[in-house]
Point group: C2
Chain length 440, copies 2
């Protein structure tokens, strides 16, 4: 008999069906055995009655067994109906159970409510803990964030490209870059697709990418991973840096709407509330931000000041988001566009939410002469960025872009305490799947 997905059982009441899935819950009540069976589409309660021919196999089928179950879909008696859950009004009366894959006894409580591991243990057993609804909910939200980014970019005519992970030996450097033994040469892992997305923009006008970037910061904090998923966008023919800001805002708004629609059950399960994005997100220059906080101007907002600014803006406008632009030119990379009226500050912009930076971007220098002036002032070796510079020798319009990390946005939307929770296979200083110390 063809398999029925569990989400489709409600339209099979009174019929014989075959389902396949995992034993999610098992309760032995006197002579009855109750199972919750889980497949990719949902869960259903199944009951093995005392005289069922399935009893012998059912007796052995423990938690996380992969099983095929044949039976009849019954409507539950009124008093047993649970209207709040999928299939809360039906039950499968089991006629036959076939074990497709046995499971060892679980090393810890994997039930929806009983799951309570410290993060280290949870990560040490991620191959198993990935089956828990909490982790499934987190990674569903993460997948929707990434997919919604792509959807919105495509709707706005952005061209998807694959940014490279291996960077030339000479393009990047410093302590925070991973070095790769590349045949008899040295190469590096890319820290950012920045220069590549600008190149692609010069050919396709609008470009985006979803790619890995690698950071060798020797930091073991709750916010650091060595490998992250970056969502990058770049657009030509802008009139002002505010076009970039507006596109970033529209992108985040679309993502939040999609997460709200597609992940409402997951948000509720995780107790997460989406941040509020009002019709027009407030924008302040760095100078104005310090004025607003009533403190002396500085070169950047520190984490405490970011939190304070977000609180003030929230109180005044109801917005959880705030844009801050106009950072000191000399503090930012060579390609960021200096503000024409005051070149000491640039047209870079950050989006803060609930006290934390979510996204950064801005206008870039498009004029080749101005770019080369910065290359020299920033003391960069033009040979090391020759491919990038070539693109800018041939007609580049005013342009800009933005980028944000998928794990960080997942963490912030869901209010997770550690970014490792938002990466399925997190890598950090001390861990690649398993603690590195275990491999010594």
């Amino acid at each position: 008999m063809a398999r029925t997905l569990i989400r489709d059982l409600k339209s099979a009441v009174g019929k014989e069906v075959t389902i396949k899935g995992w034993v999610d819950v098992r309760r032995d009540q006197g002579k009855l055995i109750f199972f919750d069976i889980r497949d990719r589409s949902g869960k259903v309660q199944a009951v093995v009655l005392p005289k069922s021919p399935a009893l012998d196999v059912a007796k052995d089928a423990g938690l996380e067994y992969a099983v095929e179950v044949k039976g009849k879909v019954n409507a539950r008696p009124e008093k047993n109906v649970n209207a709040k859950v999928l299939n809360g009004d039906i039950e499968l009366e089991v006629a036959e159970v076939t074990v497709l894959g046995k499971a060892e006894p679980l090393p810890f409580d994997m039930s929806a409510d009983g799951f309570n591991l410290d993060l280290t243990t949870e990560l040490d057993h991620r191959a198993l803990t990935l089956r828990h609804p909490r982790l499934q909910a987190i990674f569903k939200v993460s997948a929707v964030i990434i997919d919604s980014f792509r959807e919105f970019m495509k709707s706005q005519d952005f061209f998807e490209f694959q940014a490279p992970s291996i960077a030339p030996a000479t393009a990047e450097g410093g302590a925070e870059v991973f070095q790769v033994q590349y045949f008899d040469k040295k190469a590096y892992l890319s820290q950012s697709p920045q220069l590549y997305k600008q190149i692609v923009m010069t050919a396709f006008e609008r470009a985006f990418s979803v790619n890995k970037v690698f950071r060798a910061e020797p930091s073991a904090t709750t916010r650091h991973l060595t490998e992250i998923v970056m969502l990058d966008a770049e657009m030509g023919f802008i009139d002002s840096w505010t076009d970039v800001r507006d596109m970033a805002e529209a992108t985040v708004r679309y993502i939040l709407t999609q997460v709200g629609t597609k992940c409402s059950a997951e948000l509720e399960f995780l107790g997460a509330t989406l941040p509020t994005m009002i019709d027009k997100t407030p924008t302040y220059s760095l100078k104005e931000a310090f004025e607003k906080l009533g403190i002396p101007e500085d070169k950047d907002l520190n984490p405490e000041q970011e939190r304070a600014l977000c609180e003030v803006v929230k109180k005044e406008t109801g917005s959880d988001f705030v844009f801050v632009w106009g950072y000191p030119t000399k503090k930012k990379p060579f390609y960021v566009y200096p503000h024409p009226e005051n070149p000491e500050v640039n047209e870079g912009v950050d989006l803060l939410c609930r006290g934390v930076e979510w996204l950064s971007g801005g206008r870039r220098i498009n004029d080749y002469e101005q770019l080369m002036k910065h290359v020299n002032e920033w003391q960069m070796d033009p040979k090391k960025i020759e491919m990038f510079l070539e693109a800018f020798r041939y007609g580049v319009p005013p342009e800009g872009g933005f980028a944000f990390g998928a794990e960080r946005m997942t963490m912030q939307i869901l209010g997770l305490k550690n970014i490792r929770e938002a990466a399925m296979f997190p890598r950090d200083m001390h861990r690649i799947d398993h603690p590195l110390s275990a491999l010594d």
Copy 2:
């Protein structure tokens, strides 16, 4: 005045508009200057009349200048209409030209027809050659292949995950893996998300990923890149390896249909014909394949035999595709499922097209005891794949999956001669953006 995209000009006949784009073609005919202006949406012819106030600026605007052009959209006289191209029936009468970005004189002919570089020169200047319609067509097809893969996977309930690029020091090894200096330890670049996608499948039932893989093969052929985009899928609760084959076939069929629909202009420009996939792609065991070729059985098809088999199948059935399954168990990785009736061969399967392997996959071992038997026979260190093994201790149903490289499929669909043409920023033994020798 708000910018009008060039594809929308046809509905603005008789109106004043502003367009923005690049000078794609320039022809000086007596006192007239004709431009083709290109933006992300298309091209249009613009004419500067002898008395136009735009004449001074237009005189300086050379190829690849980024410009803003104001003017009036006119219908072309009947005799000048070119019905074959976008905007072949209109023309922009230029009133004003503003240079947004100057271009140096081009180092070679970038016209649609005159472009004729050897591959090395083309790659040395990829930041510029990316603007050529040939390259734009190739990378549009590549983007549609990747996006269609994701679309189809999602339609079939596959869950998208991000497979890691950094692999633990102990998981992979051998000469063909890139080594990364990971703080004070060693790590490697992932050669395949195989074990990760199997882990994710045990939690999400169906999983897919679009991720980079890295191959340190010291081969400088037309088919080798060190960094490629892999499209991976894995599915649980299969009845047979043929379920995996059928899903792979449906995936390729969907991709071909999408490329045919979304890239018809690009296929025509590149002179490419999509391969024919008939209703049911012929499937042969390796043994049957050798019988069909009338040659003695061997352990694998060599490239010449793959070509011969495809030719025979094409002649007999009209299909450009053929599946071959049942390879010697001992020749394949430990996780491939041995055929129960003859364990000497396994349930791995390859999809060939036009003489070349496009995709491979098959059923995997799901039973933990059988898996551990193979781990021992293949002399693997269980500690090195502990995360993978943990997943298989807890109820794994019969399962399988498949994978294929985006660059190879792009190359094969378009009949490109070198895989470097199908990668936007190709990396090989001798090149990362620029030749490595240039960096010595």
